[in-house]
């Protein structure tokens, strides 16, 4: 009885505790699943993820990237790590982590509610419920977004602490230590610094409003200003561990907009549905409005209710109406909160609307003219927490003013009853968040994922492999969105969720164009079955294993058995790890040959299979290369330019021109593109090259070596004559059955295709194509004459067994004289068939249409690129000291390198380090304390290379990412700040 009484007396605490446990409901009856996928990235090994947060370079994905802002996630991942180290299963780790963040939001909003409305528990509860359950949070929880959660947690907490400090309800010691705690909770917002700036914005507004409403004496003003500034500095100093490295990164890369760091600016697309009416109802998420042609949501089935159902539409306005009423029933004693939350409401709506009219043009003006504002590329997601907080607080204030007015009597009971009804309705309105529907349980893209056993077997295998941290894996197939047929989807490789093995994988955010094109070239070779060429490209990535995911949902072609001649395979369920039998480059090595690319940075990629082992390619325009004495000895790579650009694309004779700067021995390399052996005639300056000098490799045809003098040269290549791949050449059977008089048919019914339609339905003629190869380009053309009625369309349709892949339409026009039309068709590189469709549109009012088409053709075109690669017939010729290199990876920012030159003291060495080029990477001798300034340049279009001059290329070296030192310094500042605050708060003044 006592317990019941106790619970009854503390009913609001019971409700608060129950609210904290909402995440447990998400897992009830779901089995042994994890909530993960897409942006969620729940780590399958929290320790691995936690450790990565201590380095400002993350070398795991695609040759590494500066990780300065991501170190901000250290506290968030600590929350996952702690239960993991205690031995909890991953599912329980996830539950603990989710409950922690849910409880944090409940607690911080409750603290704010107590600050605003200290006397009445019901309004306090309303503030908490409105803040923790709202539509904005659907997306936050769906993706478990670190930045959003940190912002939503820290915002009410920091506002509450600062207000209590201003109004002297807590002393400075308490305020500072609480602010320190709030700043730690806010640190996760640094993953997307725009979220962190929202906290700063709220803090500034709070200080200014409080200052204006409490201007009395100079001392008072000074006091408030000092407290406001101290709060600001505590917030900054505690978070300096990620702010400082981030600022250093932005400064060193001259970044002032998203484009500078290779990120997509999607403000326009994200603002398409953020009209004011949607924003005030918190319904501005873009994926709510992704509907198919029949109006059915593509991603979130529950949005049907919100978009079309009457009760949901009505209730969506309930909170905004109550907010406006709260201003009408303005309580003078609470004027600070009314004004503060009023400003936050207005700003929340204005910024949330983004580039959508009518305020969008002003927002865009700010976006374009204020530096760094482009980082707020998803304004609705960033600023709406200001709105949700204001809504919760203002509705709380409204109920509070009613309770103050009607303390006794019948009206109070009626009011209590109405509040209960409202809260029940509110709970039902937010049912997807409470029940876990936000994780799309019934959808094929569900976030509830059950991982097959072989995923865990792979984890064990990868972690048990010795000395494998420096080895790279390249994944296949090539879909940017990794999607498995057992449910998991991710934007990064699944292996990175639990392994420290470095992975090369397609990505939406590639920092280097050359890297991206090189990866595209690797995948093209794999799809074409050119496995030897693909493996030679792997050397340029420093990769020595292919991760083939047979359980992927993809259109990409499967890898054929022929690859087994070149690789050894380890299999785990549907996953294959293929290791080339030949020894491969590691990510750090001494270059044995250096090629100078004289064309565009990416133009060397097709010739990689021809280049010598352990070679690197440098850019001729790189000023650092110009400073290396022996650079004149580097071999040249030249891409030739096609001559006579205006001639017909259907010719089989192409001429290429080039300028050579010095006499030398060269190989002419022609992209093979499935050309048969001995099918080419090659002429250099009108001299026919003997067939014995033409070698056909998988992806290249090599001509030479030939000696060429400096000056201009012409290469002429005669390709085989192209055949028409159209399976039909006689159209009589298609044309003859039409309901026309004899003289209305074309003169030559075999040669001319009659496109005739007299019905109200569309008619189509299908013409099959023979010997279609999806890896070639084609010219599709015809002669056309319009007679009357609707103009037909000619469609080139590429289709895989299960679905259409590409559709290319050619509009022939309405010329009544014969006219020739053609277009180029670039197929999607996947196993498929090709058809030509001629579509006669439906007629209106018993009309008819008629056109003639003849000479229809589909022929391959020869757009093969041709390159010149310099070589040397004298094998004893040396321009580099080769020697031996051993290295050890200490961590992702430090490598110990031991270099032993081959004894030739006259020659320098080029050291290749295949992480993405960044000025922050330095090579220094570990023997001397003085840092040697070795020439640092880009190799292979994306990676780091250093030239170590003669005489210095033996000894021990360190490759180090210098911004890590700044990070360590910044961490020390953060730690010292926290320690000082703790000491200050514990310190007792002697009386």
């Amino acid at each position: 009885m006592k317990i019941i009484n106790k619970i009854w007396n503390n009913w609001h605490t019971v409700i608060l505790v129950a609210l904290c446990l909402v995440p447990i409901i998400w897992f009830i009856g779901r089995g042994d699943v994890l909530i993960t996928g897409l942006d969620t990235n729940f780590p399958l090994d929290p320790l691995v993820w936690f450790q990565r947060r201590f380095y400002v370079w993350n070398g795991i994905n695609n040759a590494g990237i500066d990780f300065s802002s991501s170190v901000a996630g250290v506290f968030f991942h600590f929350v996952q790590l702690a239960p993991y180290l205690l031995g909890l299963s991953l599912k329980n780790v996830e539950i603990v982590s989710l409950v922690f963040w849910f409880s944090a939001i409940v607690s911080s909003s409750y603290l704010l509610a107590k600050t605003i409305l200290p006397k009445n528990k019901t309004p306090q509860l309303i503030v908490v419920i409105l803040y923790i359950l709202n539509i904005y949070l659907f997306n936050t929880w769906e993706n478990v977004k670190v930045s959003n959660l940190a912002l939503v947690t820290a915002l009410p907490l920091i506002i509450s602490i600062v207000y209590n400090w201003f109004s002297e309800k807590i002393n400075s010691k308490k305020a500072m230590i609480y602010l320190c705690l709030g700043s730690i909770l806010a640190s996760g917002a640094g993953i997307n610094p725009a979220y962190f700036l929202v906290i700063i914005l709220a803090l500034i507004i709070e200080t200014v409003v409080y200052l204006f409403l409490n201007l009395s004496t100079k001392t008072e003003i000074k006091k408030i200003l000092v407290k406001g500034l101290t709060s600001f500095f505590i917030l900054i100093l505690v978070n300096i561990f990620w702010i400082f490295p981030l600022l250093n990164f932005l400064y060193s890369t001259n970044t002032i907009s998203l484009v500078d760091i290779g990120l997509t600016n999607w403000i326009t697309s994200l603002s398409q549905n953020t009209s004011i009416i949607n924003v005030i109802r918190l319904q501005g998420a873009w994926d709510w409005y992704a509907l198919d042609s029949s109006g059915i949501p593509q991603y979130l089935s529950y949005t049907l209710n919100y978009l079309y159902k009457f009760p949901f539409i009505i209730f969506s306005f309930a909170v905004p109406i109550l907010v406006l009423f709260s201003f009408v029933f303005f309580d003078k004693e609470q004027k600070f909160w009314y004004i503060f939350f009023g400003i936050l409401t207005v700003l929340g709506i204005f910024f949330g609307v983004g580039s959508h009219p009518p305020t969008g043009s002003f927002f865009i003006f700010l976006f374009e003219h204020v530096p760094f504002l482009s980082f707020f590329r998803s304004p609705w997601y960033i600023f709406t927490p200001l709105l949700t907080l204001s809504y919760a607080a203002l509705v709380g204030l409204l109920t509070y003013s009613f309770f103050q007015k009607y303390k006794e009597g019948m009206i109070k009971h009626i009011f209590n009853f109405l509040i209960i009804i409202f809260l029940i309705a509110y709970g039902l309105y937010n049912y997807p968040l409470i029940t876990g529907k936000i994780f799309r349980p019934e959808s094929k893209n569900s976030f509830y994922v059950y991982f097959p056993e072989y995923v865990w077997d792979t984890k064990d295998w990868l972690s048990n492999k010795h000395d494998s941290t420096d080895e790279r894996i390249i994944s296949y197939p090539d879909d940017q969105l990794e999607s498995f047929n057992w449910g998991y989807q991710g934007t990064e490789s699944i292996l990175s969720l639990y392994s420290n093995r470095e992975i090369i994988t397609p990505s939406f955010n590639m920092t280097s164009k050359v890297f991206s094109e090189m990866l595209g070239s690797f995948y093209a070779h794999i799809k074409r079955g050119e496995y030897k060429s693909a493996i030679s490209l792997m050397e340029f990535f420093g990769a020595n294993e292919i991760f083939y995911k047979k359980d992927s949902s993809t259109l990409s072609s499967p890898i054929g058995d022929k690859i087994n001649d070149l690789v050894e395979t380890t299999k785990f369920g549907e996953w294959y790890f293929m290791r080339p039998k030949d020894e491969m480059n590691k990510k750090i090595f001494i270059a044995e040959a250096v090629y100078k690319n004289l064309s565009n940075p990416e133009d060397f990629i097709p010739v990689i299979p021809f280049l010598k082992p352990k070679s690197v390619v440098v850019n001729n325009k790189d000023t650092e290369i110009g400073q290396i004495k022996s650079n004149e000895r580097f071999f040249s790579i030249i891409k030739t330019g096609i001559l006579d650009q205006d001639k017909s694309i259907l010719t089989n004779v192409n001429k290429y021109g080039l300028d050579i700067l010095r006499n030398g021995t060269f190989n002419i390399l022609i992209e093979r593109n499935y050309l048969d052996r001995n099918s080419l005639i090659v002429k250099i300056d009108s001299n026919v090259i003997s067939n014995s000098l033409i070698q056909y490799d998988q992806s290249l045809i090599s001509v030479g070596p030939v000696k060429l003098f400096s000056g201009t040269h012409t290469i002429e290549i005669v390709y085989p004559v192209q055949e028409n791949l159209l399976a039909i050449s006689d159209f009589e059977n298609i044309s003859k059955n039409q309901n026309l008089r004899k003289e209305e048919f074309p003169e030559n019914i075999q040669k001319t295709l009659l496109v005739y339609n007299e019905s109200k339905e569309a008619q189509k003629i299908i013409l099959p194509v023979n010997e279609f190869n999806p890896y070639l380009r084609y010219a599709v053309g015809f002669d056309y004459k319009y007679v009357y009625g609707k103009v037909p369309f000619v469609e080139v349709l590429q289709s895989a067994p299960t679905s259409p892949v590409k559709n290319h339409s050619i509009y022939p026009g309405s010329s009544t004289d014969w006219q020739t039309r053609y277009d180029i068709f670039r197929p999607v590189e996947t196993n498929s068939k090709l058809e030509l469709l001629i579509k006669a549109g439906p007629n209106e009012f018993s009309g008819r249409s008629k056109s003639f088409i003849e000479n229809i053709f589909i022929k391959r075109i020869y757009d093969n690129n041709v390159y010149l690669v310099e070589s040397n017939s004298d094998t004893s010729f040396k321009y580099l000291s080769k020697g031996e290199l051993k290295y050890k990876k200490i961590n992702s920012v430090k490598y110990e390198v031991e270099l032993k030159s081959d004894g030739d003291n006259q020659l320098g060495s080029v050291i290749a380090f295949l992480d993405n080029y960044n000025k922050g990477w330095v090579l220094k001798s570990s023997d001397s304390k003085i840092e040697n300034k070795f020439s640092h340049f880009t190799i292979n279009g994306y990676a780091n290379g250093w030239y170590v001059p003669a005489g210095m290329n033996t000894g021990k070296f360190i490759i180090y990412y210098r911004p890590q030192t700044l990070y360590i310094f910044a961490v020390l500042v953060s730690v010292c700040t926290i320690m000082l605050l703790i000491i200050y708060s514990l310190h007792k003044k002697k009386s």
């Binding site: 009416i277 306005f317 406006l324 709506i349």
Partner: protein
């Protein structure tokens, strides 16, 4: 009983309204003149293409002018805001989406002016 109460209430409010109109006669006159002029300019698309004087702008100017000319206070603005939001709900239910959006814009404009006025009123009282 109720009838006589309502009658008295109406008379009282009517008197208040009359008094208010007398107090703001000049303001009402200027306000109406400006609004009529703005609507005429809008109809004639006067400033196009340099500036589009749309109904949104006219409404916003009207709200601002109502402060000095009609003596509007923050509470009036919040009432206007509520009225437009209720109207937006009505339009939304009838699936007249474009008008509902436009009406919500007026709600936001009134809210914005209301918050500014509320701030000014509070600071003035404080000082």
């Amino acid at each position: 009983m109720i009838r006589s109460y309502l009658f008295k209430l109406f008379n009282k409010k009517y008197d208040n309204l009359n008094q208010w109109a007398i107090d703001h006669l000049v303001g009402l006159f200027i306000f109406n003149i400006i609004m009529s002029l703005l609507v005429l300019l809008n109809t004639a698309e006067y400033f196009k293409p340099f500036f589009f004087l749309g109904i949104n702008v006219i409404f916003f100017i009207g709200l601002i002018l109502s402060i000095p000319l009609l003596g509007a206070r923050s509470k009036s603005m919040f009432f206007i805001s509520i009225i437009f939001l209720v109207f937006a709900i009505f339009l939304k239910i009838l699936k007249i989406e474009i008008w509902a959006e436009r009406t919500a814009v007026y709600t936001f404009q009134s809210l914005l002016i209301g918050v500014i006025l509320l701030t000014r009123e509070s600071i003035n009282k404080h000082w």
